[in-house]
Symmetry: C2
């Protein structure tokens, strides 16, 4: 099916909305949380597990997939969906964030960014055009243009230059898409601006003027206080058109997500549920808790008696704790299943509440 | 249901037989391969994965479960089946092999064996009575008595003393079972004797005389040539009663298992399929192959096109190879699924062949 975004319900008290993103690989009900499939798998999960927890879309990291196994191989395999065995939507990021946070010795120029791989030190170059070529080779349903993401805190001049470059790169990305008549892969625009109100406003205006079918808000949840993140988001969603979905990149904890939904964000992705699971923590409405704690040694109840995930339906905290201390991979798997399902159930609930006017 | 062993077909040319072991938790079709559930999980698998690959019984390690999480905790959880979420049969070993191979500074006496934990150096003591208490706390369907397993090669006197002690300990185990009227947990006898024909003969006769409902053959596949293992097994199965199932402990590769089935062995367990998987190797009729090889970089075919496992039905060698090099846990999981299913399919095939007179 063709790409489309449809709003089905709106909150009266907040900017929250319920919607559907239509993509060639299916529909995403928003607000939605996207599990991270960094390297072609959601860590410690199989694709049927990911479908079972209710995910309607996953996020792939262009930077990681570019380095391993490489876009040529994935293209030859028939695209990312086929290669990894996931026939629902995939959103890929631009690789910009990873280049600026993971790669070494990056050198930025108007043309693009040179960096050395964090794996083997080899030199690589990403331009706005190159990252789109990579993402079309992957065959992602939603692509992101190369952007410049500054660290927090950033000096104003640095943040301003990044906003300007991000806008110029967005234009080049639009142009490439137009010239090559790419149809299957929708391109979102990315708003930057660090924590400067005027820069966020300017970036949102410049990117919105380019008329993308969806928008991502980058450079938040990078160390700034939650209140500051919400302030920036509020300002940006006032400017971005209502008719397009908004992806708040890399966010976050449940409280961040709930707050951001009130401010009009629709799509979220974060390593928190999966990474915390691999480090032995489970998520509930009370926050995160370590399964390693002694209080769980003889706790023969599930992580969350309300939860319908495979881990909660079949196993006790005492068992998962035992597996974790025994360093069994299965512990990481079970905690990942629960944490992702927790986020999915949270989104289900939020969508119902917004539609019922109770959010 | 009550414990029972039934032979349903016999090979005319070899000692191979097809049978059914009835236990309180279900039926095991023999010859059977038992995946190893060392610490309360089959490594890199969930219990539903284990059921899906077709396992009808798993093996738990008494030594490991005794140290972590301990029999008291498992008993409090309602037994091993309930604790780990596996409602089919479980066979537990006696811990003897691990004490003699893993634990440090063991001191053997007529009473039992003192050892220090390989995890934290704490001192422990296993007697024939103690390991039965542990196994009844676990609630295993089939238990093993404490035996003395010598290393290979062993001096004759050492091997002889181990045979004698194993027989005396078997008698004490029988006595304990009888006195406590244990009904749910069947106790097998264990034959030792290293690679000495007369000792194997003597051990088999002494243990068979105690009239166990099933027998285990220990101390093989510990470094001796395959021919020597087969020679010992052949001799032992001539002595053990036909009416009881025979478990060749810790064996092995497919070729070992096929040879042993011809010599009348019914039950097998081994870490090979699961351990090889975690180290990146897959099993086929051609033997083991490393998924890491460059030849698989662009191999977009399954591990085995004939195989019906989740990994082979959904993923290519190129994908699993990529996951393995990227150090994704999912690679270990998918290889484990395939390797265990390979063993299960091998057993399915063997049972059909024996029944059809084609083995």
């Amino acid at each position: 099916m063709d790409y489309k975004f449809e709003i089905t319900a709106k909150s009266k008290k907040t900017k929250a909305r319920v919607g559907k993103v239509y993509t060639p690989h299916g529909i995403i009900n928003t607000p939605a949380f996207m599990p991270i499939g960094t390297l072609g798998t959601v860590k410690a999960m199989t694709m049927r597990d990911v479908a079972e927890i209710g995910a309607e879309i996953i996020l792939g990291n262009t930077y990681h997939l570019y380095l391993r196994p490489g876009p040529e191989l994935i293209k030859e395999a028939g695209g990312l969906h086929k290669f990894i065995g996931w026939n629902k939507p995939i959103l890929t990021d631009s690789g910009g964030f990873q280049v600026f946070s993971l790669a070494h010795m990056r050198k930025i120029s108007e043309e693009g960014v040179e960096f050395t791989s964090h794996i083997d030190g080899t030199k690589h170059f990403f331009s706005p055009e190159k990252v789109l070529e990579i993402q079309t080779a992957l065959g992602s349903d939603i692509m992101m243009p190369l952007d410049e993401c500054v660290a927090y805190p950033a000096k104003k001049q640095e943040a301003e230059e990044a906003v300007e470059r991000t806008s110029r790169w967005a234009k080049r990305s639009k142009l490439k898409i137009k010239n090559e008549k790419l149809k299957m892969n929708e391109l979102f625009g990315i708003v930057q601006g660090s924590t400067y109100k005027d820069l966020r406003k300017r970036s949102a205006e410049e990117i919105a003027a380019l008329d993308f079918p969806g928008y991502a808000i980058g450079g938040l949840s990078v160390g700034e206080p939650q209140a500051e993140m919400f302030e920036m988001l509020d300002l940006v969603t006032d400017i971005l058109p209502d008719k397009a979905p908004r992806h708040l990149m890399g966010v976050g904890y449940a409280s961040d997500i709930l707050g951001a939904i009130k401010l009009g964000a629709d799509l979220f992705d974060c390593v928190i549920p999966t990474r915390l699971a691999r480090h032995g923590s489970f998520l509930t409405y009370e926050g995160k808790t370590s399964i390693r704690l002694n209080i769980f040694e003889k706790d023969f109840t599930p992580i969350d008696p309300e939860c319908d995930c495979y881990a909660c339906k079949n196993f006790t905290k005492a068992y998962i704790r035992h597996l974790f201390w025994a360093r069994e991979i299965t512990a990481m798997h079970l905690l990942t299943v629960h944490n992702l399902r927790f986020f999915m159930r949270l989104m289900d609930k939020v969508r119902l509440q917004i539609a019922a006017g109770e959010f």
